[in-house]
Symmetry: D3
Subunit: 137 residues, 6 copies
């Protein structure tokens, strides 16, 4: 009965952004991104969902201590929460802050910080209830 | 059995904003608004909820035609959706775009547009699942 | 500290319907109801929300026994659940089954069945997450 | 355009409880409360919703500072969160911790702590998505 | 850092249906489907969730343009929305419109329409918050 | 067009628990589990999500009869619902009732009861909207 189990945690952050590719002209940006492109941008309530798997610690019954996971997730979301992604986060100066790229960014950041013995199975970033991106390991 | 009934409709828009009062200094703004103040702002998925009441049209069984209500609500949300409130909407150049003020703005706009025989009972604006403002008529 | 308190209970039912007024011609029905009118109808997952208020029973700490309320609500929803409203429920043979009329129907049915000492404050019927009707006592 | 506006804030706590009236015998408790009575109790994820109204501060656009409201709400939920209500909270030693009584308790606690110029319009306590109690001022 | 990413989009439609197998007798239909079988049917608010994966376009940061995906999804849901599945959609004249079959139908329709370079990873169809079917590629 | 399809069903139960490992001292329990450890415990509204896959029965269009699945799920949740896990369920006398262990327990119980021709693909147990555990087959 040695199951591998996943623990999934949701956290929240609110950020501003605009869809504007530095390698496209203004007209190309408008043609590609429509309403998502605009001079001062707009914003969303994002959800970050992290799935961490591993064998259970038989003494504690946990994949990893939830308080440790929460501390790690806080490290990821603090530079994003209540910020404007295009201007305030280095990665998004060269990558359009689409939901897909926000998910890749969070996946890579998280993957660095998880403790040994655990695996980052999957990261989901929701831009709204009806749109999200997922990176699977 | 002549009931007054309310019809409530939810619509959605995503907007950027920052909490910055033009009559406060930068330090006072930071002291008052904390993380909600920042140079480039952040953003949210807003929900606008409008409650319209009246007597039922006995032939149609409706307080008002839902398609008309949807057209009116679209008129309200179009200038807000995918925009940055502080810069793109006249009202928010002189009013901090708090949830409270967004609700007052939507209430006043809606109140102008509803057809005779209906009453705007209440407007709610959600900034997140955990925070909203309400104006009652 | 004798508070009046409200207890609110949600229940669910799935029903079919079509918007078709018996006093309108086919063309008038289409003009009035658009996609909500069609020959065989469509359907929804409805939510019925009942708010019952009264003084707390000091011994039990309850406005009314929840199991009694659930039995009453079941009596209301059973003739609706998994039925086609226009054909299967007497009231909707002469009233278009709009969200407003479904709310009025549920309010009247419930009002008959609640025990003495309680008041039916309000009934809400949701046709979707984004549309509902409310009858206030 | 001096609107009174309400600000509503949701907070969360998880608590254990059992429905057991000290003035009823064991058999009467079982007859009254059914599955909600049991020796070791069970528990819920509760939601506390507080509606605070007042005139807007014209400088800040706020009914009251949200950070102050959050501090007050934290004072209310800390003694409840991750506790067993019947044993760990004085009030529930003499009041059955029904949803109704939890709402009354939260209403009274909150009412003491709100700043001048604001009114506690309403408190809601959810025991589940389908059951809640409301105290209106 | 060439990640494969999934983009997931939710859309909504409301439809009527009844569970009635053409190869079963009326009694067998009732025995098999219970309340889901009835002469005039009932209905639901369905959710269609489509997961599309591919490599990111480095210029736009997107798996595929969301507006194109929305147009494709609209093509799928238009013949279903506000219709009665058993009578109005060819496929459901020979397949019982269970959640499973609605998911298979949507998967096959979608799979035809996605652009080159993308893969339809998975389709989910929700009949309610508590019941859904999933087809994985 | 012989698709393997999954059917997913959600059910709900409310239970009390405390995080207390029998092989740890009281101080170690507090250090490990923080607020989740306390003498009388607390509780949650749990969600159990079961994903069952198989080939469709061509006559009924179902992976398995939903009413049978509901009966099986009820057998799993009845001993948990409105109980205190640590004291009332044998398995949790020797396993800390973390979300992970509740998921493993439900997976093993369910796996025994499903009919031939179906596979238990996955079990999820939610302790809250923001935390869940998953066991994949």
């Amino acid at each position: 009965m040695l199951h591998e189990v996943s623990l999934v945690r949701r956290t929240y952050f609110s950020a501003g952004h605009k869809y504007e590719s530095p390698v496209l002209s203004k007209d190309e940006n408008i043609a590609t991104f429509g309403a998502c492109y605009s001079e001062y941008g707009h914003g969303h309530n994002y959800i970050l969902e992290a799935e961490v798997s591993g064998l259970l610690d038989q003494k504690t019954g946990m994949v990893m201590n939830l308080r440790d996971l929460d501390i790690i997730l806080k490290k990821i979301t603090t530079p994003l929460d209540h910020h404007f992604l295009n201007t305030d986060v280095e990665f998004f100066k060269t990558h359009v802050p689409t939901t897909e790229n926000v998910a890749i960014y969070c996946f890579n950041e998280l993957n660095e910080l998880l403790p040994q013995g655990t695996t980052l199975r999957r990261v989901r970033v929701y831009e709204s209830d009806d749109l999200w991106a997922e990176v699977v390991n």
